[in-house]
Every structure is written in structure tokens, then in C-alpha cells.
Amino acid sequence: MGKPKKVMIADDDPGIVDAMSVMLEFEGYEVSATLNGAVLLDMEDELPDLLLLDIWMSGMDGRNICKQLKQKAFTSKLPILMISASKDIERSALEAGANDFLAKPFEMDELLKKIERNIA
């Protein structure tokens, strides 16, 4: 095992951010988080290895963020795993360019499986 993989969590709910951080750190990931979706589009350097993006980001649609990130050359290769409370979002999320989708509430193992599958 070399350098730990970096996973970024973007969710406007601090509880989720915290719980997921605990889980991923326990699994050996380097975790960063943001409660504000806008900052994601401003990322200039140090991209994470995978982005966990909530669909609802305090007034911003996670799918729009995902679409923009995928359009920007710098972030277009960034694997994005979208998370939503609604399973119905799955299709639109994938259409928006997300690499995978996970509905809340999810099993921890499932989350880890999807991260491993998508992380570069």
C-alpha cells in the first residue's frame, strides 16, 4: 500500500459529512469535505482521487455541478460518485456524467465497493 487515496465529500449536511469521513478514514482513505458545492468548481490544484457528490447542495443541483466538472478539462477525469436520498435520481445523475450512483441510506460495504471500483 502506498500513499492513501484521497476522497472528497461534498454534502451540505454536516452529519453525513462526519459519518462518511469516519467510515472512509477507518478504511484508510484520506478524506476532505466541503459543505458548499460552489467551491468544487473553483478547485485549481490537488484534486482528490474521487468525489462523493450529494445531489442536493444547498440551493445548487449536484447534477449541474457534476455536469460542469465533467466539462472542465481539469476536472473531467475526476471520478464522481453521486449520492441521493432518492433512487429516482439515478438515471439523471448518470446522464449528468456521474460515474456511479448511490442512494441514501446505503450500506457501508456498498459505498466502499463503489469507491474502490471507481477510484483511479
Binding site: 449536511d13 452529519g15 453525513i16 462526519d18 459519518a19 462518511m20 469516519v22 467510515m23 477507518f26 436520498a85 432518492s86 433512487k87 429516482d88 439515478e90 438515471r91 441514501k104 441510506p105 446505503f106 450500506e107 457501508m108 460495504d109
Partner: protein, 888 residues
Amino acid sequence: MEINLPGGGHKDIFYNSLAPMLIIGTDAPAYTMLDVNNAYLSTTHTTREDLIGKSVFGVFPANPTDNISRNIERTIFSFEQAIINKAVHIMSNYRYDIPIPGTNDFEERYWTTSNTPVLDSNGAVMYFIHSPANVTEMYKLAEREKAGVAALKHQQEQLYATFMQAPVGIGIFKGPENIVDLINDPLCQLYGKTREELMGKPVFDVLLHTRGLGFEALLDNVRLTGKSFKGTGMAVPLVRNQRLENAYINFVYEPFRETDGSIAAVIVVATEVTELVIAKNQIEEAEARARLAVDAVGLGTFDLDLPTGEMITSKKFANIFGFEEPVPRNDYVAVFHPDDLIVRKLAHEQAIIAGNILYEARVIWKDASVHWVRVEGKVFYDAAGKAVRILGILLDITDQRKAKEEQRKLISLVDNSVDLVSILNMDGVNSYINEAGRNLLGFENEEQVTKIPVSALHAPEHFEQVEKEVIPMVMTTGKWAGTMMVRHLQTGEIFPVYNNCFRIDDPESGKPIAIGAVMRDLRPELAAKQALADSEQLLRNITTATPIALWMSDENGAVSYVNQTWLNWTGRTYEETLGGGWLEPIYQEDRQIAKEKFSSDSSAKVLFEVEFRLNHSDGTIHWCIANGQPQYRSDGSFSGYIGACVDITEQKQLQKQKDDFIGIASHELKTPVTSIKGYAQVLEKMLLKKGDVKEAMMMNRMDMQIRRLTSLIGDLLDVTKINSGKLQFNDAPFDFNGMVKDLIEDLRRTTEKHELAEDFNETGMVYGDKDRIGQVITNLVTNAIKYSPAAGKIIIHIALQNNEVTLCVQDYGIGIPGDKLEKVFEQFYRVSGEMQHTFPGLGLGLYISSEIIKRERGRIWVTSREGKGSTFCFALPLYVEGQQTNEN
């Protein structure tokens, strides 16, 4: 003087001759006796010496009876006659009594004496022989005979008188010509002729009309044979009082015998019995007429001998009883209607007391037809007062009975009619008004009906209508019908009636004889109409006031009524709304759905229900739910709907708010649940890493509970989506058996108690939302586990049938009552009753399952027996490439 008598011998003869002889000389008036024989002497008690030479009258003077018999005179006359005529002269039967010797008495003697002159050769009378014969005995005999003859003659005369005066006609017709020898007055009268016309004439020459009728032969027969003939009531044509008529006569022809026994005549004894015969004929005729009459009117007659019970009946009697010919009494009794035997029995018992019999009863003929008979009769009693006989008649009254029954029905109908029924005579007075009519118009009794003129039944201004309109109309056209005003006789109340008048014509002459009327009191009707109008107004007020639109439609689906509420909502007129007009204000998107739903429910005649949005006249749009209850006529035929339309805009809004709330709430719930779940799972892993297995297990159980919570939240969200139509499907073809196998594998891990048995047949691909269909199977299996706490086995069947994939979950649990089977797929349905609280859940699972299966074009159903278990099944169409399209 000396007389030479021839020979002495002669003298002896003379003297001894038994005939007394006296020879007397012709010397009148002395008439000297010349000789005498012994017989003479003996007869006259004299001696020869007393007589010879003496005058005869000297010796035999007139005796005391001579003044009567005058025999001296007669003797002298005889002597003179003999001498003069020189021929014997006989004196017959004269009386000359002879003195009885030794007494002064005389013996009565009668004599017949011959004086025979004896002539000399010159022819002169020399003497004559006087020879008296004592004929006393003969005379007396002759006298007695004479007396007898006289007596006989007297008797005959008396007989004749009797004969002539007899009250019967008597006549004697003599000889073959039947000459009237004798006829009395009654017979003359009978013949209508006088005695002079009849006497001495052949009777048939006088009674010309009786000729050739056989009477001659009858008379001949009697005369020739001696046998009498008796005729009774024979008709004899006679001309009497210048009129030819038939006299009826009882008569006897008796032979009239002569003394020698020969028959020369016939005695006719006749009595006229014309009156009797006529009377008798009249009786017979009357009887015959009566019999004819009896037969003509179909009367049967009977004569019942009470002591013997024998009954003589006429043929007609038998016919009425259904027999060809008269039969014994018991045979008649046998055909009585069994119910009427008691009537007959009572009538007979009563008859003995009352003296007559009268009853009506039914008799049953051989052909089973029933006939009514009336028996009427009179009882006859003997001297001891014992009833011995009943004579009577029998009448077939079947038709009468029927007619009477019909009439009775008609009368009953009229009597019991609640309407007035009357007959108005042409004189303006009613001859009949039924009870209802009398009550209606205030007649106190039937008598008043015929007394009170029709004009009194109306106010003058209203009677004018009767006079000028009604009666002329009835008389000319035969009828009149309409409303008129009448006046109550007692209260004076004037009220309207509907009167149906018709002219009654004489069936013979065709002339009007009366006016019939059927009159109905319009007050109740008017009151009812008013009540109806009031009630209608009330109903209208209520329906107008109600916030619910009400409607009716006919069997063809055309709306026939809406209330004011609907009109207020839509701002349209009543007329615009009827028929199919009600659809127009419906929100365009919903209009077709509403129309099709109504059309299909209407043709299926089932409860109609549809929701639609309605354009209100103020421009707002309101949600409505319309219901219609199918209506049926009394004959069971469908007549349309009666329904309501409720504004559910507010409910819709509330529903939406609720759905929105549940959606947001459950969405928001998911976030903390996700966090908790994350912490729990991390903690479990941490504890396992540390080796705290027990604690880790507890964390696992916590996670299980979170899973349940997640599932409940998921159900709430699903229902919300279903209700708002936002349930999404990600349909794609998938391998059905594979999916089920994986699912069952997972489910096995959730239960230790229950065995999930597989009964899988190969199926194929199904096109649908794999997760959603899996959700259904999970729901069915978890239900099966939940509701079979006692039984361990659950069988999952998969089969392919008719291009349908069928999956059934069979359990052996508590089952579902039959009346609840249909409800299990409804929202919030839960096991009811005592068990309710022992089975957790929101009651949404089957509802969601059925919605999912329906949305996936499948069917879902259940079969169950309470206490035995349930089998929940669904069927989905098999995927055939190129056929299905994603409808979502």
C-alpha cells in the same frame, strides 16, 4: 010336452055327461025347462022335479048380486041371441051366486054359459041347450090376474114416469133402424131436439152429425149379441142451440129384452159429462202446458217418497244433474259437490219442519264441470202429520249464478268505488248514487237521492255549466268529461270534482234514458299536488342549498337533471347542461376521461366514479369527484344513475400538502438515518477489529433496526409518489428466475425460523423495473413470514403460462377471511381484529406491490383460507424482444 030323443042310449049319455046341461024351450019369456042332466042338477043343488016343466027364471030368480051382475038380463039377451041367430051364444064370466042349501047364504059363483040352439029339419029352433060351466075358480083367477096386470100397469106407469123424469137421459131405440121408441126429456135436451122431432124416427136420421161415427155399429152389436156397452166421456157431435158442438157423454147401451128373451131394442142411458170432460181437458192441457213450460225453462221435476226414499224425476231433472236419463236418488246425491252436501242435508231437515224446501247447491258432472242447481219443493204430510212426500222442481242456475255473481261483482265494484257513481234520470233527479257519492255530496240516505234534484248539488253559477255545457254535450256526443264545481248538501262547501259523464241509451229504442256519471273528488288530488309542489320546492331548496352538485341520468346515459349547485358552479343553464352538456365545463384534459368512464360504467351498469377538474364560472378550476348509483325500475331494468358531484379541491390540496410533507419529511429523515447507519456500521467494524464481538453484534442489530426504519421511510415515500403519480420505473429486460433466486438467497439470511422452498419452473426474460419487482417479491415473502408465526414452510412457485410469468408465495399461516380478501391490496389495510397489534407495519406494502405490478402491466391476486394460509401471486408478461417499449 014329449020330445023324442034318439035312442035310449043318447039319453044316458046326456044324463051322464059331465058338462051340466039344461034343455030350455024357446017359449019366451017363460023359457020352460024341458030336460036336465045330472051334472046340472049337481051343480045347482036341484032335482029334476024342481026344474022340468018350470020356467027357468022361476026356479033361478035374481039373486042378491044381480043388481051388479045383471045376469038375468044378460041371460035373456043370450037366449034371444041364440034363438034369433040360430047360433050358439056364449055368456062369459058372469056372476050368479048359488044359494047354499040349508042356509040363507049364497055361494059366489061365476059362470060361462053357452046357449046352443037345436034346429028342426026346417031350420027352426026347437029348443036350445043351456050349458053353464062353473068358472068361478077360473074367474077368480082371471080377476086376480087382472088385478095383477093393473098393478103391473100401475108399476109400469110409475116406471115410465120415473123414466121420463129421470135426470139421466134414457131412450129406447128399436130395431135395426134404431127407431126412437121412447125417449125422456133429459135425453131430448141432451140431443138438443124435441120429443116430437125424435119419437118414432130412426135416431140417426135426426142426429145427422152422429152418423158414421161408429155408434150404429155399437148399437147393432148390443142388439145382436145382448152384450151391453159402456162409453165414457165419448165425444158426440151435436147441433144444439143452432150450434154444432162436441158433447161429451157417458152412456150405456143395454139390450131391451122382450118377454120371450128376444132383443128388439136397445136402452140408451146417457149422461152429459161435457163440462167435466172440458174441465178435465183443461186440467190436462194446463198440466201439459205446465209440463211444456217446465221443459221450456229447463225445469226438472221430482217426486220424493219420504218413507221409501224413492224419487221419481223427470228427464230434465236427470239432465240437469248430468245424467242422460233419470237415475236412482242415491246416484243424484253422489254427484253433489262435497262442500254442498251439508247445505242439502240442512235444507231437507228444515223442509220437514217448514213444509217447503229451497236450496242451491253445486253438482259435478261426469266431465268434471260444476253446475249450480236450485231445488224448490213442497212437503206433503199424512193425516198423522208425518211428512210423506216432497214434490218439487229443479232449475239449473249456473248461468244465473254466474250472471248474478258478475252482477254482484259489478254492484260491489260500484258500491265500493271510492269515486262517486251515479245515474241521473232525464227528469233531473238521480235514481242512484253509490255510498261514496252520497258521502261526497252530503246525502243523508238513499231516499234523498231520488228526491233532491241535481240542481241542488251545485251553486247556481256552477249549475249553469251543467245545464248549458255538460248535459247538452252528453246528449249530443254521448259523453262529457271535465272539472266542475259541486256543492255539499250539508256543509254547503263548494269544491271541484272531475266528472266523467256518459249517456245511457235504452237498448231497445236507442233513446237516451239516463246519464251516468263517475265523479272524483279533486280536493285530495289538489291537496296532494300542492303537497307535492311544496315537497318539490323543499327538495329544490335543499338541493340548491347543498354544496354538492346532484344529477340524474337516464338509461341512455343522457343527464336528465342537475341541481342549482352545478349550475351555479358552471354558470350554465339547466337546458345547456342536460343530455351530454354537462361535459362541456369539464377541464379539457379530464373531459375525455370523464366521458369514457361514464360511458363504460353506464353500459356495465355499475357504480360510476370519476374525478375531474371543473371550470367554474369565476375562472377558477376545481377538482370534483362524481359518483353515480345505478338505478333500477320495479321490473329490474336499469333506469340510469342518481349521483352527486363533490368539490374536492380542498381535499386535493390537502392531499398534495400531505404528500409533499411526507415526501420532504421522509427525504429529510433519510439524511440522519444515513449518518446513523454509517456510524453504526463503522462502529461495528471497529469493535470487530478490536475483538469486541458481542458489542459488534449489538451494533449489527442496531443496523437491522435502521434497515427497518429505512424500509418504512421508503414505503412512505413510495406511497406518496404513487398518490402523486411520480413513482418512477427504470424498465429493462432481466432474467426473472435469476433475479428471484438472488432475492430468495438474501431473504433466507433474514429469517432463521422459516424455510423458503423453491418451486421454480423455467420462465425467461421479463421487461420491467427489476428493483421494484424485487421489492414486490420481498414484500410478499416478508408478509408470508410475518403472518405464519406457527408454520415454518413458505413455498415460492414460479411458472410460465400463456406468455405470462407467474410467481406465487404460499404460506401456511393465519390466512385472510373471505370478506377481507379484496381489501388487502388497499392503502393502509392491516390485519384487523384482535391480532392487529401483534403484526407490525404501516399497511402499505401490498398496496405498493399491487401498484407496482399494475404499473408493470401485470396482475396481482390472492387466494386464502382463514387458518390455513394464503397464496399471493402476481403475473407479468414475458419479454419478447422488440415488443415492449419503455413507457416511462
